[in-house]
């Protein structure tokens, strides 16, 4: 069912992801402006704010810190968007992905883990206490979300009896996985936020630690790190579509339009839902993740396994 896209898709992918990231960031800016200025403050005019910030950072100077390890830090920063794009390579547009390896689901997870390690590097590089605290926070966060996240992904793969993303989509021709694996879907959405260290999981870049892992990065470094974060959000949210929302399946519209619509809906839900929650601190969230989410996802996987065996 899933074909590999033509070569030009490889070139197009990063640009498409960046464009999507810019739109999502713009939506977030509008909602932020609405909270700050109220309806009378014309929040829609804030939409291009992330782009202007990006251009400002592009023109700004990077900076150095005393006795830092700038190159290690930069490797970390660069790895964030690179990992996002590599993970995005297995995202099917309609029914076509840039590449659809046999172990696409595991590949996606591995790339996310790479971004996880990268943020620590970005926090370590500048040799500054607050920035390192930010880096450590993301590691702690990973310990909390990674396990339920893996189980959620595994559950979807289990339901399709395949690790190939294309086959996971194909298995949802009739019924979306989100319908009969609601717990896995919900956990995946949570961990999509956590993975992009955004929203209620933005503690690694928390304002309370002066920006955490990003506290010391300026100019292009900062732009790459923050843009990489939006890319990660787009990619992880986008991955919930083939995993749980039936990918390109849907009536009337072409497959790519359905993918776009569903991705936009998930992203809109996440960006709007962020307003409802304060930042989750891991020393509190970890207990919840391990005592509630892990058993929940395991149960979900068990249910799915039983269904799969009996059909």
């Amino acid at each position: 069912m899933a074909d590999t896209a033509p070569l030009w898709a490889v070139v197009l992918l990063p640009f498409a992801l960046v464009a999507a990231a810019a739109v999502v960031a713009g939506l977030d800016a509008v909602l932020t402006a609405a909270a700050e200025r109220g309806r009378g403050g014309r929040p829609l005019r804030a939409a291009p704010a992330p782009l202007r910030t990006g251009l400002r950072l592009l023109g700004g100077q990077p900076r150095r810190t005393t006795a830092g390890d700038p190159w290690l830090g930069r490797i970390g920063i660069a790895l964030v968007p690179v990992a996002a794009v590599l993970a995005g390579a297995v995202l099917p547009w309609g029914f076509r992905a840039v590449t659809d390896p046999v172990v696409g689901v595991v590949w996606f997870n591995a790339m996310e883990a790479l971004a996880w390690a990268a943020v620590w590097l970005a926090g370590w590089g500048p040799n500054s206490a607050l920035s390192l605290i930010g880096g450590y926070r993301f590691l702690a966060q990973g310990l909390a979300y990674e396990l339920p996240h893996m189980f959620a992904i595994t559950t979807a793969a289990l339901g399709a009896e395949s690790l190939r993303v294309g086959e996971v989509v194909a298995a949802q021709r009739g019924l979306w996985f989100a319908v009969w694996m609601p717990a896995a879907f919900a956990v995946f959405l949570l961990s999509a936020l956590a993975m992009a260290f955004w929203g209620p999981f933005d503690h690694p870049l928390g304002r309370d630690a002066a920006g955490g892992a990003a506290a010391e990065h300026a100019g292009v470094d900062r732009l790459v790190l923050l843009a990489g974060r939006w890319l990660l959000l787009v990619v992880t949210a986008g991955f919930s579509v083939p995993l749980f929302l039936g990918g390109g399946h849907g009536p009337w519209l072409p497959a790519w339009a359905w993918t776009l619509l569903k991705t936009a809906a998930v992203l809109g839900l996440l960006v709007a839902g962020r307003r409802l929650l304060p930042t989750l601190r891991m020393e509190r969230y970890l207990e919840f993740a391990w005592t509630v989410l892990v058993p929940l996802t395991l149960l979900q996987a068990l249910v799915v396994a039983v269904v799969v065996l009996n059909r």
Partner: protein
Amino acid sequence: MLDDVVFWALAGPAVAAAVMVFRFASMARATYALLASLLCVGGLVVRLGLDYLGVVVVLMMTIEMALMGVFMVMFMMNPAGLMPMSMLHNRRGAAVISGGVFVLLAAGVLLTPWPRRRGEPAADPTKALGESLMGPHMLTMMTLGLALFATIVATVVLATRRGRYDRFGDDLRARRAGDRGDGGDGGARVRGGAGP
């Protein structure tokens, strides 16, 4: 041809990064050099047709090394290598031993008449692996499972100093852990102060 290029492009950095692990004076660099080396190993494994295991190696090693970095920084005598450090002992003996082992292994590798390739890989090696782990190699799988479980228990016992009695009171009746205010490991509330 392409295979050869890919092999050298992965094996070369793997060995080079492995050497750098013990040459860097900075914990972070050493850890991430090790990660780079093991990622290359993962790439080679994928190249050998074991997609699943290769990607799993990438995934697991990334997570492991990221955690390792933290422990490094926590526990090393000279955590960041701000000063040039040399924490070696019996360097010469080790060089002789490992050099000798390498010569032996290399000789074995080169001199052994390796058998011809027998059979073809299964259409889906991942599935074959799964079926053998759940079939003929069930015992291995069970042993691994038990070992992992024992590890979880043992490491927690070793690493933590406080048990549930410390957290929930002597009769375990407390509804909330006494250290809740400090997250998972708040000795301050328990012992009422800093440090022993």
